[in-house]
Symmetry: C2
Amino acid sequence: MRQSQLFTKTRKEDPKDEVAKNAKLLIRGGFINKELAGVYSYLPLGLRVLNKINNIIREEMNGLGAVELELTALQNPELYEKTNRWAEEAVDVWFKTNLKSGSQLGLGFTHEEAITELMKDHVSSYKDLPVYAYQIQTKFRNEERAKSGLMRGREFLMKDLYSFNDSEESLNDFYDQVKGAYERIYERVGLGDLTYITFASGGSFSKFSHEFQTLSEAGEDTIYVCEEKKFAINKEVLDEETLKEVGIARENLVEKKAIEVGNIFKLGTRFSEPLGLTFTDENGEKRPVVMGSYGIGPGRLMGTVVETLSDEKGIVWPKSIAPFDLHLVWIPGEGDLAAELADKLYDGLTEEGIEVFYDDQVTSAGEKFANADLLGLPYRVIVSDKTLKEGKFELTERATRETRWVDEEELFALLK
Amino acid sequence: MRQSQLFTKTRKEDPKDEVAKNAKLLIRGGFINKELAGVYSYLPLGLRVLNKINNIIREEMNGLGAVELELTALQNPELYEKTNRWAEEAVDVWFKTNLKSGSQLGLGFTHEEAITELMKDHVSSYKDLPVYAYQIQTKFRNEERAKSGLMRGREFLMKDLYSFNDSEESLNDFYDQVKGAYERIYERVGLGDLTYITFASGGSFSKFSHEFQTLSEAGEDTIYVCEEKKFAINKEVLDEETLKEVGIARENLVEKKAIEVGNIFKLGTRFSEPLGLTFTDENGEKRPVVMGSYGIGPGRLMGTVVETLSDEKGIVWPKSIAPFDLHLVWIPGEGDLAAELADKLYDGLTEEGIEVFYDDQVTSAGEKFANADLLGLPYRVIVSDKTLKEGKFELTERATRETRWVDEEELFALLK
């Protein structure tokens, strides 16, 4: 894409009404726009990142044998009354609204109830199980405070996977498979090294759930990390009993701040019982379906990448989720030759399926470099009068800031 | 995909609480699920159709030089107060909700205000124009009645494109380009022959807008069609003056019922003036940006296809938006040979990138055929003991119901 065809402009100054680094950098780069506190729209560059994250998540979910669907934002209170999650005292993050008839509706802060109810039309026998279904959909949460940019929003995207099994054993099997898929997701979006599977509180059905926590000073959670075993314990469940259970001594744990980037839960029959999702087993007996739920916020992942991998010059996108593979920067000089060379290179790379963001604008070299550093594409190539003289291109890797001269062949080979 | 891996079941009976054909068939086929009146979730098969429609729309929008972004559902009342669209008397389809602080928010029923406000950060000079931006996003409308299935929902997907130009002339040019893109979209989703560009009322800026209307007895609109010139006039603007303007005699028009499948509007400065989106022109003068907006509902398109192209046996998907290219139906018989052949064919076709829905379930042939007719994939291939004997496959085209025997080579050639 030619930069001249993209309407968004970058900003030199931080937005005054943001405190979180991820919001500051993403707004300065024109990736997102603040509509309201905790409510961000995705501008073209941000949407490209988000779609890449979503597609990585989709591949891993499909790999688990899960199928994608899309539930709705508007939710029926009747379902939540059955599970005791409608009243304000039980769930205080509802946004509620009214139909013209006066009856109340909710904006989904989660979808366990909706998907459990839906499955009643499709599951009746053990032969119908297991079922694994997921969506990537907008959630609404009426948070009191929303100052963390993409980390805690009032409206945000969530991938939620739900599992429906005929026994606790088969739930446990699937739960372990999801752990693996989640680890691959964090690895693929560039957060693998910083992300720890973490013991957390389990709710009504099982003693523990698992969170995935990415180390960051911006995190709202405190975790205790065991570097050797590459796992952590959330502060909320750290006691003698837990330490004994996981077989680790207190002195081998280090306290860290972290961002929760995922959470997986064994729900058991917490929702299937009150809502009446049952199946007939091999002996002809009716039993409630055994469920699990598994969440990841793609927008929060994007924010976490910015919090943890950016430097003082701007964002550093991992290749897998960068909005483009390459920032091609043309420096205006004497005559038209450099521009012609840049045009030719842009066309050639694009034809090869390489995603190029082409700075074809007439601005100063300094402005262009600052802009490229802020936007954070993995590679930058400069085409200038100097390039013409050398017969080579100046290539800089954003993450390492290393610059070298490459010829056309090397450049294509590197990017393909 | 193997049918045994898809959790959704088809139904023989129409759902009792639906009157619209599109809702009845789509629910029976397991494409959508009714959450509330006018609120439908998309099950895996339905989501596949929706995504194909969305991608056709995206290709045509990108072809216009428009860039994709994604705005939010939660909307700031301040913007709508400036344009006089917040009060109940002005707009009666708002869903409104409250933050914990007590301040009100709206759920976007449209996004002119939000995108106009957003552009103030990015447009200041004539050099920044034109800008064309679109989204495919959920809209919320508090409709009094919602009985038409996907045709009129309280929560539904909308593609909305917005144009920002420096003059009425350049708006007019772009508006004409959008007409062309819209015609290609209807053509590509299989509604080309039935869809008429239609004069409709224009609102505050221009005398007319244009609707795209698809002929259907299920339509809520009445239009007057001129077959010869392939255009129509909406009843609401049919008067002597309009007839004179379009140069056509009343007797050449035929009254028809139709579904509005798109609407394009010249907005002029209706939103840029109250919200203060201005640019500095070549003479250094500040002027309000000249806007247009262009909508298509992908879900409504899906519903319209079902209303207009289905037959007494079920849905008939056009190839371009069918959830799969082929329904491969295995008929259980003597021994395992037919199943092995079906497996092999499924693997072979899938490897070639052909999207196959494979009925690998042990049910009766009658049930399988009724099911395939209801789901409406373009082609059905039967693999049975008879197939083994013949050494050929029985191929049926869903739209024409014509059956013929083809060998493997013909089958692959047809589907590629």
